[in-house]
């Protein structure tokens, strides 16, 4: 546990949020107090903490706001960027970045069979993965008619985060047909894979 103070007095938005973000990322666990000198910065820092799944306590002293955020020992910063439900008791830290709709390179028919086998087997794996991130043609697995839709929906129900790249859904014009998980962006993808054990398929 460590105690940290981030003095953001005199800084204009969005600097207080950026400083808070940097500190939260640098600190494994502990109490962080962010000091700001205006209402807007106070509200924005509280919003940021809430977005990261952390609660914030505010104390006002002499017109300055002292915002205290506690980052727990079990709290992974990855769980904040893409709310990976830590409540799923079986959820492990493994993240899969799935870049195509078939598994491996070679005959596409074989690749499709392998992908289905992979997802079905993943249902049996313990601990369950933390997140499945789908990009490029991988997003085809998350839409209506996907051969592994049932498996992905079961994983999602168990608390595995399923995210599909919004740019890719737009590109293939499949956004309307997304049938499991949520739309995400490159920021969340980068945040998620850089804070976890990630395997690219």
């Amino acid at each position: 546990m460590s105690d940290k103070v981030v003095d953001c007095r005199g800084l204009v938005c969005p600097q207080p949020v950026i400083q808070t973000k940097k500190t939260l990322e640098a600190v494994e666990s502990g109490r962080i107090t962010i000091i700001v000198d205006n209402e807007v910065a106070k509200i924005n820092v509280i919003k940021f903490a809430a977005a990261k799944g952390l609660s914030a306590a505010v104390e006002e002293k002499n017109g300055h706001y002292y915002i205290t955020v506690i980052k727990g020992t079990g709290q992974q910063s990855v769980s904040a960027a893409a709310p990976i439900p830590g409540s799923a008791p079986e959820a492990g830290g493994q993240v899969y970045l799935i870049t195509q709709d078939t598994l491996g390179h070679g005959a596409p028919e074989l690749g499709a069979v392998l992908m289905k086998a992979f997802m079905t087997t993943l249902l049996e794996a313990r601990p369950q993965p933390a997140a499945l991130l789908f990009i490029n043609s991988g997003i085809r697995l998350t839409i209506q008619g996907s051969p592994v839709l049932e498996q992905l929906q079961m994983l999602a129900e168990r608390g595995v985060t399923v995210l599909a790249c919004g740019t890719c859904l737009d590109y293939y014009q499949l956004k309307e047909q997304l049938s499991v998980g949520e739309v995400t962006n490159m920021y969340t993808i980068v945040e998620t894979i850089s804070h976890a054990k990630a395997v690219t398929l």
Binding site: V12, P14, V17, I18, V40, A51, Y187
Partner: protein, 343 residues
């Protein structure tokens, strides 16, 4: 040219650097109102530009707008500032003809090439509009600032004001929202995809939207800028003596804007707009980040058009055909006295 981060030379960028609406209204109401029969649109109705009738067929439409850097690239800043200044002319249904540059520049801190790039951006954007820059004025200043005065022409009977919306009208918005929030994100080096979309949107002229809309019975028009969507809707509602209902689920949002708002990248101007607007009622289900986007100060935002309901779908299709894919029907006008409902 050396690489400079233009936004680091100012505390607030773009239309977020405006004085708050409450602050400004308080000062303006202290000043005496002069009456002139040729003034068709003056300061009384908080419209986008002033209109002066020259004769039975021609009215002069004039506007001025300038601000601090909203992006780091000086050429792009010039383009955005010019598109933003020209937008007020389009919002009145007029055609821009001439413009004058307004420049403040820290010539001790930044090289001349930076100023040249800003002015080149402005000039190229004005040329795209078909108007021409015929002069300008510059001063040395600690913070860079750029914008233009623009003069346009319109038929005095065909002016679009913000005061003509009628109960039953549908509201069309032609650009996606969230430029203030994404400009904050840019300063934090976050959400590059959303920032790129916001930048492209801010640099785009409202010329096409205005041209398409001119083929329809536009009852009222304004452009969405520093007072945010709801601030400008309030001007329409108050000016037209109507109330407005906004369908929050239908609002066109820039990519990443909702997520950036959710993590507190909300500019101070959004809070100022929120504090000023007391006649806004949100349905409970409208999430906080969407509320923030509704108040977010926009730079070079889209046109907001009030159009008879029976023409609305046709206008929307025509805007989409003209390449304005973000254009959406976002709400409707009802009887009332300046109230805004967001559901």
């Amino acid at each position: 040219m050396p690489v400079v981060r233009l936004t680091e030379y100012s505390q607030r960028g773009g239309c977020a650097a405006k004085l708050g609406p409450g602050e400004l209204a308080g000062v303006l109401k202290q000043l005496p109102v002069t009456f002139n029969p040729n003034v068709l649109v003056g300061i009384a109705t908080s419209d986008d530009a002033g209109v002066y009738k020259l004769n039975a067929t021609t009215a002069l439409v004039q506007t001025v707008d300038f601000f601090t850097p909203i992006v780091d690239d000086p050429y792009l800043f010039g383009q955005i500032a010019a598109a933003n200044s020209l937008s007020d002319i389009y919002a009145m249904g007029a055609t821009p003809i001439t413009a004058l540059n307004l420049v403040a520049f820290p010539n001790c801190k930044l090289p001349g090439e930076v100023l040249q790039a800003i002015l080149q951006g402005g000039q190229d954007k004005v040329a795209e509009s078909g108007a021409v820059i015929i002069g300008g004025h510059s001063i040395a200043d600690d913070e860079p600032k750029y914008g233009l005065t623009v003069t346009g022409l319109a038929h005095p009977d065909k002016i679009w004001t913000n005061a003509g919306a009628q109960p039953g009208d549908q509201l069309v918005l032609t650009k996606a929202l969230g430029t203030g929030i994404l400009t904050s994100a840019a300063r934090a080096d976050l959400f590059p995809q959303g920032v790129a979309a916001a930048t492209a949107g801010m640099a785009a002229l409202n010329a096409v939207a205005a041209k398409v809309a001119a083929g329809f019975s536009v009852h009222a028009c304004t452009d969405i800028t520093g007072f945010g969507l709801l601030g400008h809707l309030y001007e329409v509602a108050a000016g037209s003596k109507v109330s407005i209902t906004v369908n929050s689920a239908a609002l066109p949002l820039l990519p990443d804007a909702a997520e950036a708002a959710g993590m507190g990248l909300v500019p101070a101007g959004a809070y100022a707009n929120r504090n000023y607007l007391k006649t806004v009622t949100f349905a409970e289900h409208v999430q906080e980040n969407i509320r923030d986007i509704c108040f977010d100060p926009q730079t070079s935002g889209g046109l907001l058009l009030a159009i008879p309901a029976k023409q609305a779908e046709e206008l929307l299709a025509a805007l989409h055909d003209a390449g304005l894919a973000q254009a959406c029907l976002i709400g409707q006008v009802m009887d009332g006295g300046g109230e805004i409902y967001v559901r």
